[in-house]
């Protein structure tokens, strides 16, 4: 049995409006960040994975099972949605126990699983209060508890860190890591790119309904031959160094750091740059504190692909 999430030529339109278009994607287990601006198709992709919407074209399977086989499919899926509604008149505990009973669990295991999930998200103390009285952070946590309570193999999380304080973010992030380490798919969409970068094993970039890149951040960067990488040089002699860098040829832009003790340079050939730079530094006798790449981050690639529009279909 396949243990991947597969999109085969998947398109989804809402009338004339494009949700996602011609997505071919295969996701191995692990933590996967889903990145893109508003309207990029992130929620559509998540709803397609979880079977809440169907493809207009193509096919989605999750670990070998299609969403139509609801009894098998939804045993494997946990979805923390962006929707903020809850069934009428439920406490946090009752919500979880009721849903676990609908899953088919008997009373005792349903209570045990609900209690474990409540404890995991730090909601035990508030579990018997009405969900309608919960604040944003508590709602987010109870939605997360609902998504993980049946221990799914695939956890889909739409902006799961929204409304959480820093400590809660750290606790919740730890849950994602645990699930990922246990062999689950953990698919996270977030607009906080640093957090996606810190958590994710791989990243899927979407823009205007199109998949524009997928893989780990260095891998994506490596595939983008024309990607103008930013490198940094820390040195007290930064202004003098900056004036000589264009002599190297590989450099397209140089910018001094605000403190005057460093600079950023853009180059399309980082390896070639460092080779030439090292030779020049030795020849000139510059005292260099440190050098490195400044933007192998998800945010930098996002800015290049999405904000600068280099990843257009």
């Amino acid at each position: 049995m396949s243990d991947t999430i597969r999109f085969e030529g998947v398109s989804r339109f809402y009338g004339d409006v494009l949700g996602v278009n011609r997505v071919d994607l295969e996701l191995e287990p692990g933590i996967i960040g889903l990145v893109g601006p508003n309207g990029a198709g992130k929620s559509t992709l998540m709803n397609l994975i979880t079977g809440l919407v169907r493809p207009s074209r193509g096919k989605v399977t999750v670990r070998g099972v299609a969403p139509d086989d609801t009894e098998t499919f939804y045993r494997r899926i946990g979805y923390c949605t962006q929707y903020d509604g809850f069934p009428l008149g439920m406490t946090g505990r009752r919500l979880l126990v009721s849903l676990l009973r609908v899953h088919g669990f008997e009373s005792e295991p349903a209570n045990e699983l609900a209690n474990a999930a409540l404890e995991r998200v730090g909601m035990t103390a508030a579990a018997d209060r009405s969900v309608d009285a919960y604040g944003k952070g508590m709602r987010q946590r109870i939605k997360l508890a609902q998504a993980i309570c049946h221990e799914p193999q695939v956890l889909v999380l739409d902006e799961p860190l929204n409304g959480l304080d820093p400590q809660a973010r750290a606790e919740v992030t730890e849950i994602f890591r645990e699930r990922g380490a246990a062999g689950a798919h953990v698919l996270i969409s977030s607009h906080i790119l640093q957090e996606v970068d810190a958590i994710s094993d791989r990243v899927v970039f979407l823009d205007n309904g199109y998949l524009i890149a997928e893989g780990d951040a260095p891998g994506i960067k490596g595939e983008l031959k024309q990607y103008p990488m930013q490198v940094f040089v820390r040195s007290e002699q930064a202004p003098g160094i900056a004036s000589r860098l264009f002599d190297l040829g590989q450099v397209t832009e140089v910018r001094l750091h605000d403190d005057g003790a460093g600079l950023f340079a853009r180059t399309r050939d980082a390896d070639g740059f460092f080779l030439a730079f090292n030779k020049l530094a030795i020849a000139e006798g510059w005292k260099i504190d440190s050098t490195g790449t400044a933007d192998e981050t998800v945010e930098a690639i996002y800015n290049y692909l999405v904000v600068d529009g280099a990843g257009g279909p």
Partner: protein, 268 residues
Amino acid sequence: MEPMPTALVAPRTLRFRQALAVVVVELRKILGGKRILTVCLLASLPVVVVFLVAIEAPRLDGEAQRYFGNIYSVVVLGATVFFGCALVFTHLFRGEILRRSLHFYLLAPVRREVLTVAKYVAGLLAVYALFGGVTVLVHPMFMGIVGAGLSVTGMLHYLGITLLGCTAYGAVFLLFGTVFRNPILPVAGLLGWEALSFFLPSAIRVASVSYHLKSLLPVPGPIGQTFGWLAEAPTAASAVLSLLILSVVAVGLACYLVRRMEIRYTDD
């Protein structure tokens, strides 16, 4: 990862257990929601009307059954059962969509048909209890006040019609709640159809729930009394069968639609 315990249960047992869980959740929601106040008001309407008519009426002797039949037909079937079922059953899916909470159900490993039927059963249990209870209450109350003597057979006869009415109207309104974004208009349309279809040829009249229900009354309904030529009625067996077939078809269609249902709350 270990398989979850539910994967080891026989499918039929699992589905029954899931259906039972949905029924319990839905009953809590129906009985705990604000709508139940309106439904209870509708349920109390026959009690008030029957009481007022009974204390104002002279001793009816042989006419008591006909009097009660008229009141039952107009107040219990025409108002309480019709509007009560509309309130409860159109809300089973539409209410969840408006609250943006339907996805919790659709993300559960339960067949959508099981979910739909279980919701319908929960609605039926609620309206059976309320409107069946009202029928059991008002029949002996009326007969007692007008001095016609109690009749358990008569009471059970009316109870059967009430339950059948809830079953048929419930199924139709469940379907309305899955088809229409705003079920008020189709409910109003059905109300008009139910009221006016008696004046249409019998071939068209058979498509009316009330036509079959009123044909089951122990005495002819008010329309039949006034316009004898319109009172042509189906046999009891065919009326019951027609209503049950209608219910099965409507619930079946609702199952089909729920199976294809997507979560797009922004459209609603």
